[in-house]
């Protein structure tokens, strides 16, 4: 955002500086501590589920990740539906947004919000309204990364 001030008049720049003085400081440290412990706890629960699937079902350490993810998304659906996840989000910030439960929350919240527009256009059309960006950038960056890696390896890398 280097050109942020490019199109601004001097008046706007001066006001921008004045406005900055009054802005409420985000409590970064407090937010980070909250994000840390909530995010950590969510991962802890995920770890518990991983072991549960290893113990009780025929999953190995590697494959247990899939049912764990699905379970976490399921829990996130319940918490979203009962109106708890948005409050958790306000408290924990990234702590609840970064884990896969946050991904689930962004899908589920969009789905239930747009149900009033019908199941096809509302739910179907908007379900990835927020989570779509994660999928798009995940897929595209993975594509680029793997392509580069493959090309390097083909030309006699590693």
């Amino acid at each position: 955002m280097a050109n942020k001030n490019k199109n601004k008049t001097p008046e706007q720049i001066a006001y921008g500086q004045l406005e900055k003085k009054h802005e409420l400081k985000r409590p970064v440290l407090k937010n980070c501590i909250r994000a840390f412990w909530v995010g950590g706890c969510i991962c802890l629960v995920g770890q518990a589920f991983t072991y549960f699937y290893i113990y009780m079902f025929n999953f190995t350490e590697k494959t247990a990740g899939n049912p764990t993810t699905a379970t976490m998304v399921f829990l996130s659906m319940l918490l979203t539906g009962f109106g708890i996840y948005d409050r958790l989000g306000q408290y924990a910030g990234a702590g609840s947004a970064v884990p896969v439960t946050g991904f689930g929350n962004s899908v589920v919240s969009a789905a239930i919000e747009h149900r009033t527009e019908g199941y096809v256009l509302g739910v179907g059309g908007n379900i990835f309204k927020l989570a779509g960006t994660v999928i798009v950038f995940g897929v595209f960056s993975a594509f680029v990364v793997v392509l580069i890696r493959t090309v390097i390896m083909m030309w006699g890398g590693f």
């Binding site: 985000r26 970064v28 980070c32 994000a35 840390f36 995010g39 950590g40 991962c43 802890l44 995920g46 770890q47 589920f49 991983t50 072991y51 990740g65 899939n66 049912p67 764990t68 993810t69 699905a70 998304v73 399921f74 659906m77 979203t80 539906g81 009962f82 109106g83 910030g93 990234a94 702590g95 947004a97 970064v98 884990p99 896969v100 946050g102 991904f103 689930g104 962004s106 899908v107 589920v108 789905a111 239930i112 919000e113 739910v123 379900i127 989570a131 960006t133 994660v134 999928i135 950038f137 897929v139 960056s141 993975a142 594509f143 990364v145 793997v146 580069i148 890696r149 493959t150 083909m154």
Partner: protein
């Protein structure tokens, strides 16, 4: 195993703190933050660094959204090994389908049974 829980908590928490810093210090929107993290996961995976992290921290590395980028890249890399360069296109969702399909299924079920509470 107890060490596993401990490190899952710590590493998972730290990844969330990175996300929080992207929110608060870099002032990114949640959408931008998630995109950055997912891309970071894919890059780490390409460098071969994400798998050791998963071995070390278990769910602490697989639950955060970064693992989504890792899983996409891993799937593509496996497929490349099997079928050559075409695998870059075809292998992408080999490993990750569970998160997305679970989100779609539970999202739809959620829309059937819940109303937004506001």
């Amino acid at each position: 195993m107890l060490a596993m829980f401990f490190w899952a908590f710590v590493i998972g928490g730290l990844i969330c703190v990175i996300g929080q810093l992207l929110f608060d210090v870099a002032k990114l929107s949640p959408g931008h933050t998630m995109s950055v993290l997912v891309t970071a996961g894919a890059i780490l995976s390409g460098l071969g660094l994400y798998e050791p992290l998963v071995n070390f921290a278990g769910a602490g590395a697989t639950i955060p959204i970064t693992s989504f980028g890792n899983a996409l890249a891993t799937g593509a890399m496996q497929e490349v090994q099997r079928h050559g360069i075409v695998g870059v296109l075809t292998g992408m969702f080999e490993v990750t389908s569970s998160g997305i399909s679970a989100a779609i299924i539970f999202g739809f079920i959620g829309s059937l049974i819940f109303k937004p509470k506001g």
